[in-house]
């Protein structure tokens, strides 16, 4: 099937439209925040938060919120968001207490949450075994399939309700970031003097980490636990390869994120590859291209 035909049939079909809208909005969010994430060196925090979210999914499952219906999916999302924000703030607090040893703090929170998640998955699973021995094998496979979806993303089951929630959250984070942009830029540029210039660095850090945690959870809807952080790193890193002007860096970053998402979806839909990894791969290729452009430009100078 050629691309045009694919667009005409698949995109027009009601099952894929919410996927596309959600993916593009979340990519724009990733593009905007990734500039801060790269320059403020928060990439590893993003990684920590996304893995911590796995623990959140475990909690949701034990509470019986399986995400099978739209309503329970939203319930699950709420639990995961709450858990991820707590994880981000916990990382911030731990690294403050340990005098800036952020890598240790992330290492602790990441592994503890992953471990918690797997234990809770097993607890939820054994609950099913106990309920109904006849279906234990099928349930077991289901759980493994679920774990895979959580780890690598499954955007294809996004209906309009889920897309609406994802788009809503993304817009809230984008709007807050836009309103606070000067504060965030000052903080990211020169945190040691923030307080002397009337910008509370602790509060700014916490606010940004909350927005980052929300964004990671949104990116997880596309790319899953393992790849979510990539969407919050690659576009900004790519944009910084090709510009050193503030507004154009943000512009390029969002553009690269959206192009990566569009190309990833096209390839994914056409070749029947998983969408999340296809998007992350496309963004990675764009990053490599900008890196080569950067090298070529500096050689020409």
């Amino acid at each position: 099937m050629n691309t045009l035909a694919l667009l005409q049939t698949e995109v027009a079909s009601p099952s894929i439209a919410p996927v596309i809208f959600a993916a593009i909005t979340i990519s724009i969010l990733g593009g905007a925040l990734s500039v801060f994430v790269v320059l403020k060196r928060l990439a590893f925090i993003g990684q920590g938060v996304s893995h911590a979210a796995f623990g959140g999914v475990g909690i949701a499952l034990v509470l019986g919120v399986h995400g099978a219906t739209s309503l329970s999916a939203i319930g699950q999302l709420a639990i995961v968001i709450a858990f991820s924000i707590l994880a981000a703030l916990w990382i911030a607090t731990l690294s403050r207490v340990s005098k800036g040893r952020t890598d240790t703090a992330i290492g602790v929170v990441l592994s503890a949450s992953m471990a918690l998640g797997f234990v809770l998955f097993t607890v939820a699973e054994s609950g099913h075994d106990h309920d109904d021995h006849g279906h234990a094998v099928a349930e077991h496979q289901d759980e493994h399939h679920l774990i895979e979806e959580i780890l690598f993303g499954n955007i294809l089951d996004t209906d309009w309700t889920k897309a609406g929630v994802a788009i809503g959250f993304s817009l809230i984070v984008l709007l807050t970031t836009w309103l606070m942009r000067r504060r965030f830029i000052f903080w990211a540029f020169d945190e040691p003097v923030c307080d002397a210039y009337g910008i509370n660095s602790k509060r700014t850090t916490d606010l940004f980490l909350i927005l980052l945690a929300l964004s990671v959870v949104m990116a997880m809807q596309i790319a899953g636990v393992v790849l979510a952080a990539a969407m919050l790193v690659l576009p900004g890193a790519a944009a910084l390869n090709i510009s050193n002007r503030l507004s154009s860096v943000f512009g390029f970053s969002i553009l690269i994120a959206v192009i990566g998402a569009a190309v990833g979806m096209l390839i994914g839909f056409q070749a029947d590859y998983p969408i999340g990894p296809a998007i992350v791969l496309s963004q990675s290729v764009l990053y490599l291209v900008t890196m080569l452009m950067n090298k070529a430009m500096s050689r020409l100078r």
Binding site: R182, F189, P192, A196, L246
Partner: protein
Amino acid sequence: MSSDAQPAVEIDHVSYTYPATGFDAQPVDALQNISFKVDERTKLGVLGPNGGGKSTLIKLILGIIAPSQGKIRVFGLSPSKARSEGLVGYLPQRIEADLDWPMSVEQVIEHGRFSKLKPWQRLSEQDHKAVRHAMELVDVLDLANRHIGSLSGGQLQRVMIARAIAGEPKLLVLDEPTVGVDIAGQQRFGNMIETLQKEMGLTLIVVTHDMRAIAAMADRIACLSRSLHFHDSPQGLTPGVLAQVFAHDVAGVFGDIHIDAHRADECDDPSHIKPSGCGCEDQGCSDHGADK
């Protein structure tokens, strides 16, 4: 200088103790019972050895920390209120900004206006004017569109001073501004500060351990070594006072200007030099600060 006028900074019996953090840490007394005033439109040099409480004093004046005891007023307001009203500008000792940020010199200096704006407010014509004026005063107008990471050390420092004065403060706090600057550079820096003070009617607090720099630019000097040892004009800063503040360091560093550091030098046993740097325990030296 009229003493009836409201002082720019008033420090009244201030002590500060850093709380103990960690398993085996002890609380640290950084400042003990400090009192002095800085009159408006004067230049105060704060001199003292490393660990003498200079940075703590700055944090207190900027309202980043609150005194454990005593009271500080900046233009009659609490330090944090004065800062949030944009009355105080600050130049940090080390420039730790992330110079990889895709920002121009002008965009960095605009940060100095942020305390006057709500986060979502745009910069007004007046804000842009103040930014241009600040750039003019420190002579960085021609760098306006340059990338912040492309500047030399001296240019970067001037840009950071422009950022500090872009908010049109009445008090400017400079933390070790001449570290690593050669004599000619110090001279230029002194002239620039002089111009700033005249043009903007600034009160200046310059914190340093560099006595040459301070003697060149200050109207009054406060010597700080946990407690206040001296607060008067530079002419009154005798070798004896310096010896007290800096203990035995002084003779070595300033041997060429014949400082009589006998008080500290008379210590036969270096371990008897008081931790405050105030002479030798054997001599029974006493603090004789001007404000006592």
